[in-house]
């Protein structure tokens, strides 16, 4: 079973490093590159650099509050 754990851990760290380098490139390096460079093809327009994290944060908050509400309702139903 430790192989499955190791694979999941490796996948998580790989995803996090990928997101970090992609976002760093997007926000910090890309504005300094001229608009004709081919690298701009691989990156979405710059407004999405703000929209996607904000959207993900809002979705995370919603899911957390839904979970908290669910647990509170379940405990109240069990007590009554």
């Amino acid at each position: 079973m430790e192989l499955a754990d190791r694979a999941v851990g490796f996948l998580l760290s790989f995803i996090s490093i990928f997101i970090f380098t992609y976002y760093t490139f997007w926000v910090i390096i890309l504005p300094f590159v001229e608009s004709d460079h081919f690298i701009h093809k691989y990156f979405l327009p710059q407004e999405y650099a703000i929209l996607i994290p904000v959207f993900a944060g809002v979705v995370l908050l919603c899911l957390l509050s839904i979970f908290v509400g669910f647990v509170v309702l379940k405990s109240k139903k069990k007590k009554a």
Binding site: M1, G9, L12, S13, I15, S16, F20, T24, V27, G57
Partner: protein, 89 residues
Amino acid sequence: MKHVLKILTILVAISAFWIGLLQASIVPRSHTWLLPIYFIVSLGCYGLLMVGVGLMRFPTCPQEALLLQKDIAEAKVFLKQNGVDVGSD
């Protein structure tokens, strides 16, 4: 000092640094506006990385698992002899 005070001072220092950057205009303006979001995203990434690294390095101690199973069996026998119901097997 309490932990929450330390975190608050770090946050105040970072926001003061950010406002200073805005005023001094060393870096281009649009860059400076994106910096807080960038820090939050990189903090989330760092947390995910720590979880992944911890998962990869988690020790399983197979000998301790065997000893624990032996202890459990021993305890079950002892309790059953003394009349305590040990439940599912």
